[in-house]
Symmetry: C2
Subunit: 292 residues, 2 copies
């Protein structure tokens, strides 16, 4: 009898989505958000996400920071599609032994992040897990993107260069709890750099770069020496730590727009790889897999 830990996350998801009616209008599964076309000027975006105590945050973690992260992770997914998150729903499954002050701090942290990114809480659900079980928090959100502005993972072309914002690696030193989703940066890139494919880096470049290339029907060639490293981090950490929440995107292989550094001083934009025909290029291993 095969178990989840035997098959890994991507294979599991591929098996599961065959078992249910999937929306015709949705571009997903496989993108950062599902895309729903109701015919208006804007497309609706939908996303759900999960955070587990002991996996995405530690038992003693600052509650406000965990609340910030829960919302910021999802805001980052909307940014990666070129869109914005608007209304949030939160399900918290908690042990009865949990301190009220902790969950209040968590809600306060969510509130600060919602406020910062112009979003609102539309609904929530609280339920109890048996004492001793890990707390689980699930955040779902609706949002939107202008028609013609949406960027999928699947639009990359052979010859496109691959870029990342910021520096990678070392999230566990604290960045994973206090990052700022690249909302303004993504919107600017969509206007000025016309990415053909984009995603946010949540599971590490080693996991996410092959996903973007595969979704675009391409292979890739990574220039390891060009990967921008967080101070004190190795290339291995930059590839595998995960939870960078930087943008990874493909764009025709011209230079980056020089206005970038004026608009976002101090935030690197680095060309790290290129898309090549499927079957060529490299294989990367590592990165975060929930089950493997």
């Amino acid at each position: 009898m095969s178990r989840l830990s035997d098959i890994g996350e991507d294979a599991l998801v591929e098996r599961l989505v065959r078992l249910v009616p999937v929306g015709d209008a949705a571009e997903g599964p496989g993108d950062d958000c599902a895309v729903v076309d109701e015919g208006g000027e804007r497309l609706e975006l939908l996303k759900t996400d999960g955070m587990v105590e002991g996996v995405h945050f530690l038992k003693g973690a600052d509650a406000k920071a965990v609340g910030w992260k829960a919302v910021a992770r999802v805001v980052s997914d909307f940014a990666a599609m070129g869109g914005v998150a608007e209304r949030f729903l939160v399900t918290v499954a908690l042990p009865g032994t949990m301190e009220v002050a902790w969950i209040e701090g968590f809600y306060e942290g969510m509130g600060v992040c919602l406020e910062r990114y112009g979003a609102k809480l539309a609904g929530g659900e609280t339920c109890r897990v048996p004492d001793g079980s890990a707390a689980v928090i699930s955040i779902a959100a609706t949002g939107s993107v202008g028609r013609g502005k949406v960027v999928l993972r699947s639009g990359g072309k052979v010859g496109d260069a691959l870029w990342v914002t910021g520096r990678l690696g070392g999230s566990l030193a604290g960045k994973h709890l206090s990052f700022f989703p690249r909302v303004e940066e993504a919107a600017w890139l969509v206007e000025h750099f016309r990415p053909t494919a984009m995603m946010d880096l949540s599971d590490g470049l080693a996991k996410d770069l092959p996903r973007l290339a595969k979704a675009s029907g391409c292979g890739f060639r990574l220039d390891g020496g060009s990967v921008p490293l967080t101070e004190g981090c190795t290339l291995e950490q930059a590839l595998c730590d995960g939870e960078d929440f930087e943008l990874l995107f493909a764009a025709p292989a011209d230079g980056a727009p020089k206005e970038w550094t004026e608009r976002f001083p101090g935030l690197e934009l680095t060309r790290i790889a290129e898309l090549v025909p499927a079957g060529q290029g490299e294989v990367l291993e590592g990165g975060w897999d929930h089950f493997a």
Copy 2:
């Protein structure tokens, strides 16, 4: 230091919603779904829900039935607003030791229920809980209701009669895994009986009836002898078991429309209580509370 088990679910939710920006457009929190008015002919409805292994389903429970229930619970919330669920998002937080066949069965069951009620899966997320922790499943959904058709919990008036569909109690004998959400019934009632307030019975009449009365700014007087009991159940079970997923609604105190029995043969529609001025009437105790 106070813990969740000290304060109970309703008090917790009241404290939490003060800590975050809540949508102006949303009628919630406190209704079965949040209501978002984007100005179109239909209002958008949003809902999130959680199910925990060992609480909402047992470890050995049939996976397909659990999947059906996960979707049906949420469909029932949309029905209770007079609306329909359209697009679903699912977050599953599972131990790595879980059998792949179980989660595949769960997705199959979700698929059957989505199909039955004309809804689609728009997105999902899988994450891992530590081995030994309870599996947690969170389902969020978007849907809609015609402008002017939406029924809140808060519209009940002093003098309205309170009605329930079907029979109450005994959900643990199996009904909680195989119920049919009252979608057609709710839509028919909205057209023909004009409920002033409505909700679905998920935590037991003893918990949910006071909630509806309070949301409407009323007290209530229950006629215990009139509560329709599932065969073999006591009044205590009908009040407190929870997970009936029948409709509870208020309507001006005329008789029920006689076309009901033609349209829904075999499904009782029973007058069980009336709304009275706040502070009068009774207090009911019991029903399901996640934390108390």
